[in-house]
């Protein structure tokens, strides 16, 4: 692994909520092109860890190094870094008062200085990729969950991020809609997008993940390629977890 390829690195990341210690020292790194899937029981700190990477959650201590910059240190523009980190949420969080197209183009126009026309062209291209060009003028409430999440992915991609963070993107979906979202994510991974995914979809983790991180009790209890984690896990806690979910 070349140090230049290192996109995100965390050093002894810790997070307390009151007296509850949710993250208990996480040191790991993600390289360009990585597709890291974080699995683990609920309450293990997966989502908190992911949200610490773009500082939606402020870690109690420890560092997040993004593209060589310690973004946990004060005195730099966090917004500039966030523009390069797309995030997809469990509950989509589309802006309900805007059309799909405006949802997608608002940030590129306001933050990247794209003209309305350029932003819309790019948005339509992305919508085509997820098969939703006909929804451009529609408002989010008229979409199904699967469609909302695909739009949310497009909205994040429109900023042309260097990495995409997925926080349980299929957990709020009806079962029949999970597939369409995972398919978009699969395509994204095959195009070489760097992705960090918190999910309960074990099949996706196994098939698409290049690296699996098993979190338990606020630490990374075990990590490795999917064949190893799913085929021959070392940690008894990993084994127990997988026995329950598979």
């Amino acid at each position: 692994m070349n140090a230049n390829d290192e996109l995100i690195k965390t050093i002894d990341l810790r997070k307390h909520f009151g007296s509850l210690e949710v993250l208990r020292g996480i040191s790991t790194s993600f390289v360009k092109g990585d597709v890291a899937v974080i699995i683990g029981p609920s309450g293990s700190g997966k989502s908190t860890f992911l949200r610490c990477l773009n500082l939606l959650e402020i870690p109690t201590s420890g560092q997040v190094i993004f593209e060589g910059v310690d973004i946990t240190r004060a005195g730099h523009d966090l917004d500039l870094h966030r523009r390069k980190m797309g995030m997809v949420f469990q509950l989509f969080n589309l802006f309900p008062h805007m059309s799909v197209l405006d949802n997608i183009t608002l940030a590129p126009i306001k933050l990247r200085g794209l003209t309305k026309e350029a932003a819309e062209n790019r948005a339509m291209e992305l919508l085509k990729r997820v098969g939703l060009t006909d929804k451009a003028q529609v408002f989010p409430s008229k979409l199904s969950g699967g469609q909302k999440q695909r739009i949310a992915i497009v909205r994040a991609l429109a900023m042309q991020p260097d990495v995409m963070l997925f926080d349980e993107p299929t957990s709020a979906l009806d079962p029949e809609m999970v597939g369409e979202v995972l398919e978009v994510m699969r395509d994204l991974a095959s195009e070489g997008m760097t992705m960090i995914v918190v999910t309960h979809e074990m099949r996706f983790a196994r098939e698409v993940g290049k690296r699996i991180l098993f979190m338990d009790g606020g630490i990374i209890a075990e990590e490795g390629p999917p064949e190893k984690i799913f085929g021959n896990p070392e940690n008894p806690r990993t084994r127990e977890f997988l026995r329950k979910v598979l």
Partner: protein
């Protein structure tokens, strides 16, 4: 019951009602500006700013409007502050502009405290995932407020703000005490002139009701439409 005085005095009521509406509209306008400002202070991450807003809101809500009116009207004069009299506006409206402004300012300052809570509640009612989504795209806090949060909050705020207008119309009657020629003052004048203590008040009450009731109905209608248009 004798309503014969109406033939002679109906114009008094008309002018009074007009001034009441004007007074309430200006007060709500000022109250909205103050309220928006206070609510943003109250939602600020800086503790001293939150404290200032809370102190203002609690003090205004915890003291009588009449006392606030006298503090503005007599108190400010006592310390040498006086709203300038602009005679030509006063002439057009048939009022003493300086006194009128005392009333507007008092009602506005008072209403601001209530409007602040309306705004704060409206803003906080917006799902917090909205702010997270905006920030995750790299929007600064201010831009996220402007483009994402406030437009959604308006929908929660408008009905309550309209209701505040109704409240201010009613409460504006209290400024009759400092001699502003609004509806209540005019009714009092008519009582004095006609030596009828009762009937002129009934007419005033009816006029207040004729202002507030359609307004409430209109608000309910708008609210209903906003919800049916929920997207």
């Amino acid at each position: 019951m004798n309503f014969a005085f109406l033939g002679k005095y109906w114009q008094f009521y008309l002018v009074g009602a007009k001034n009441t509406v004007l007074l309430a509209a200006l007060a709500v306008l000022i109250g909205t500006a103050i309220g928006l400002f206070l609510s943003l202070l109250k939602l600020s991450s800086k503790k001293p700013l939150r404290f200032i807003a809370s102190a203002y809101i609690e003090f205004i809500r915890g003291t009588p409007l009449l006392v606030q009116l006298f503090i503005i009207y007599y108190g400010l004069q006592a310390v040498g502050i006086r709203f300038p009299d602009i005679p030509w506006i006063g002439a057009i409206l048939g009022i003493n502009f300086s006194d009128f402004m005392s009333g507007v300012i008092t009602l506005g300052l008072n209403s601001g405290a209530y409007v602040a809570e309306i705004f704060r509640a409206g803003i906080q009612a917006v799902d917090k995932g909205q702010m997270e989504a905006a920030r995750s795209l790299g929007m600064p806090h201010r831009m996220a407020m402007q483009h994402i949060i406030i437009p959604q909050a308006i929908r929660n705020i408008l009905p309550a703000l309209g209701n505040e207008f109704v409240v201010v119309i009613k409460e504006s009657s209290i400024v009759s005490i400092i001699g502003i020629g609004e509806l209540m003052y005019k009714a009092d004048t008519i009582r004095g002139n006609t030596f009828q203590p009762f009937e002129p008040l009934l007419v005033a009450a009816l006029l207040y009701f004729l202002m507030t009731y359609p307004l409430s109905k209109l608000l309910a209608y708008i609210e209903g439409r906003m919800h049916s248009g929920e997207r």
